[in-house]
Symmetry: C2
Subunit: 154 residues, 2 copies
């Protein structure tokens, strides 16, 4: 499935992330519209586990997340709390809507370094159970933010 070329070694988009003000209401709207079960939202991990860094500073930021399977990719709804994060910043600046598209990669450090060498800054990073993420500022070049996801070997 994964092509071994390009900066990331893959071009498979696995997720679209949308910022919302009310995850309960928007989850219900997706469930109703697409005839799907409404998933339970959950909080991202607390700061001690998530080790979230936003613009190089550690942050207490958390978000409520809900996921829908939309064919071959996930649609992620994100309702951030008030602490500093790319989620809160983007929601305050641009309102609700698409925040990022995500790709599953291998070798997070190497990929982040490669992208930073191209002038694409790491905006936020954190850990989740079974892996880690990095949001990279690719807007100028690609007109959308990329999220890199690295899952631990199971």
């Amino acid at each position: 499935m994964t092509t071994q070329k390009g900066t990331l070694g893959t071009n498979t988009i696995t997720q679209i992330g949308l910022l919302v003000h009310d995850i309960e209401a928007v989850s219900q709207a997706y469930a109703d519209f697409f005839g799907l079960e409404k998933p339970e939202w959950f909080w991202t991990d607390t700061a001690d586990q998530a080790q979230t860094e936003f613009n190089g500073q550690s942050s207490e930021a958390r978000a409520k997340l809900a996921f829908f399977d939309m064919g071959s990719l996930q649609l992620e709804l994100i309702e951030p709390d008030r602490h500093p994060s790319t989620w809160r910043e983007h929601l305050d600046a641009h309102g609700e809507g698409v925040h990022h598209i995500a790709l599953i990669i291998e070798g997070m450090k190497e990929k982040v370094t490669l992208m930073e060498g191209k002038g694409m800054k790491q905006v936020q990073k954190g850990e989740y159970t079974g892996g880690r993420y990095a949001y990279m500022d690719t807007f100028q070049e690609l007109k959308v933010m990329l999220e890199l996801l690295e899952n631990d070997p199971s």
Copy 2:
């Protein structure tokens, strides 16, 4: 692959559409970043063929389009001309970035009627070789615009 439930009879996202000011530059950036061949962009059909309607009025609007295969879905770059369209309106109002996600459906008229019954207005429609599209205003409910694509039986 297609689930036969919900409003559209499918929940498979097949395309993400991004508005850009310079399709040549952004196509090159995608090609370089993902190690892909740069696709040739092309103009949408002229008004007599496309029969474009925007907000219920016929429009001369056209756009340059370029497509990238990103795993299981297409990434579409859209550089609109100056005539009235959802593309031009969105680009002027919100700048570059994601404009819509698309799903392939069957029974365009019926699906559009069903959605309009839910208060989701048809914003723009048109024909292309082998099919037709409709942009539906789902932003309030789903926080992103949906495009319905109907391809003729081949």
